[in-house]
């Protein structure tokens, strides 16, 4: 891999920042993502990404750091979803679809106004598809703070959250404050989606949330190991993606680097395909003789 050294990968400042930010974001997304996939709330994650797109593009319009916009949009969306009840929100496809459509519409307006008002034409690209190579030093600190808050919440609520993921009634009967736990989890999810929007873009943020978790859940039957595997997959994909994106500058004579988000998402996708291979997946499904009980009742 001499070309990496030759092209100055390890001495480039934007690359350092990208790797630091990308790693924090990947770890946060992976930890939250394992619970998101397990709770069957990938949809909630995707909805928050849509709402945070509006937040991020609004922030650009008003010259605020887009990260705050992403997170604010996500938190408002998370609060609204928890108020309505996430499960009911999912049942109400029509209402949810219209609200999410409106969020993206709002994002379109903000991005258009932003593009016509200022000369920074790259805003849409940054908001929708990420800006991991253009993050300034002060934002790195904010990313770290949000990351620590998010991981702190997850560490605190893990057990009640797991119990209420198994059965909300069982948890409530044990005295778990299920609304509070649900709200804290949605807050963590909003933070994770916001951070991930900054790194790989609002449109693609769900990939970093769901992908590594989905890979991990196919590899192990213990939640602790699933979280470790998801973190490794996420960080691995992000670092490798940054490396390839940096290197892609030299791939053609016009020196047009490919977007890093593309590489990250594709690596996660390939990792998922690998876990679909029979001999990999077999590791967790030893009890083939038993018919899996798959969603009896169609309540989901």
């Amino acid at each position: 891999m001499h070309w990496v050294f030759e092209s100055g990968f390890f001495s480039s400042h934007p690359v350092h920042v990208a790797i630091v930010v990308g790693s924090i974001v990947s770890v946060v997304s992976a930890v939250v993502g394992v619970f998101t996939v397990m709770r069957g709330q990938s949809f909630a994650g995707h909805s928050l990404a849509d709402v945070s797109t509006a937040g991020g593009s609004g922030a650009v319009l008003f010259n605020v750091n887009p990260l705050f916009g992403f997170v604010a949009g996500g938190v408002v969306g998370a609060g609204a979803m928890e108020l309505v009840g996430v499960h009911r929100a999912r049942g109400r496809d029509l209402a949810t679809g219209i609200v999410l459509g409106a969020s993206i519409g709002l994002a379109a307006l903000f991005l258009y106004l932003g593009a016509t008002r200022s000369s920074t034409t790259g805003a849409s690209q940054q908001i929708l598809f990420g800006s991991i190579f253009e993050i300034d030093g002060s934002t790195v600190a904010i990313v770290a703070v949000f990351g620590v808050i998010c991981l702190g919440i997850m560490a605190a609520v893990q057990r009640p959250l797991l119990l209420s993921s198994v059965s909300i009634d069982m948890a409530a009967a044990r005295g778990v404050p299920v609304r509070v736990v649900g709200l804290l989890y949605m807050l963590a999810l909003a933070l994770a989606v916001g951070l991930s929007s900054l790194a790989i873009g609002a449109i693609l943020s769900t990939a970093l949330l769901i992908g590594p978790a989905a890979v991990a859940l196919r590899l192990t039957k213990r939640i602790g190991w699933a979280i470790v595997a998801a973190c490794l997959t996420g960080v691995g994909a992000t670092v490798l993606g940054v490396l390839l994106a940096y290197d892609s500058y030299d791939w053609n004579s016009r020196h047009a680097a490919w977007p890093v988000s593309f590489f990250i998402v594709i690596i996660i996708f390939l990792a998922y395909l690998v876990t679909e291979l029979p001999f990999v997946h077999a590791a967790t499904t030893r009890r083939r003789d038993v018919e899996p009980v798959m969603f009896p009742g169609v309540d989901r």
């Binding site: 560490a155 059965s167 069982m170 044990r174 192990t220 213990r222 009980v293 009896p296």
Partner: protein
């Protein structure tokens, strides 16, 4: 535990109308009623998941508190995804301290308690399998272990036999009977079919039309008691030790073929 004059109305419809009964320590009580009779609602009131419009639940003579560890609960529908990274052993562990925030403190004592509980419900052979991949009867045993490991005085099960084949259902019933004895815990189990429970239950609470009759099976499952409960004539027939409740009037010679309320 006693239930005292519980009434529940949901969106203007009266589900339960002053239901009262008691559960004594070490007793096995069957809560019997057809679908929609209000069994789940009544259990939810007992667990504190549903506020009654009238009446109260007393645990050891005192009103039940919100955080009640003296009642273990096995809900009717637990949808466990086969992809969920949760082993049977992990679900039992959540019964110890799943309501606590932060990280669990692993200890030898904790491990031993989990192993002992898995042994008590005959779940050792699948202790390390994902719960979602287990059969209905196996999942039921793990859920019972989860509910029991907190050392409750009352174990509440909502329709544990509903999705099981006859053999697994019978195994769960005899397991519960043994455990009620071993762990000195009262068992309150709801079912729409009373016959599988007849060999083990000490008392029966029969729900119909939002009202309840309770006592021993012989006291409750009688023509006059159930007719009063349903508000119209029903007859109890015993056939090879099985009880059938049918809507009357019937001819003396046999069971009514039409108008049956269901074989309960």
């Amino acid at each position: 535990m006693s239930v005292d004059g519980i009434s529940v109305s949901l969106s203007g419809r009266q589900i339960l109308d002053s239901v009262s009964f008691g559960v004594r320590a070490g007793e096995f009580t069957g809560l019997i009623g057809s679908n929609g009779a209000g069994k789940t609602t009544l259990l939810r009131v007992i667990l504190g998941l549903q506020r009654p419009s009238a009446g109260r639940v007393l645990v050891l003579g005192a009103p039940r508190t919100h955080r009640n560890t003296s009642i273990g609960y096995v809900p009717q529908k637990v949808l466990l995804d086969p992809d969920m990274p949760l082993r049977a052993r992990d679900l039992v562990a959540l019964g110890i301290d799943g309501h606590r925030f932060g990280f669990p403190v692993p200890s030898k004592q904790r491990r031993e308690a989990i192993d002992a509980m898995l042994h008590a419900v005959d779940a050792e052979s699948f202790a390390d399998s994902r719960v979602g991949t287990l059969s209905g009867g196996e999942q039921q045993r793990v859920l019972i272990a989860h509910a029991l490991i907190g050392r409750p005085q009352l174990l509440v099960l909502d329709e544990p036999l509903a999705n099981l084949d006859l053999k697994s259902g019978q195994e769960i019933v005899s397991l519960l009977d043994r455990i009620a004895d071993e762990q000195q815990v009262a068992v309150l189990l709801s079912a729409h079919e009373m016959n599988p429970l007849l060999p083990v239950i000490d008392r029966i609470v029969y729900l119909a039309g939002g009202r309840a009759a309770s006592g021993t099976t012989d006291e409750v499952v009688r023509d006059e008691v159930l007719s009063a409960l349903y508000g119209h004539e029903v007859h109890v027939h015993t056939l090879h030790g099985r009880i059938l409740v049918v809507a009357g009037p019937t001819e003396e010679s046999g069971l009514a073929s039409d108008g049956a309320l269901g074989t309960i």
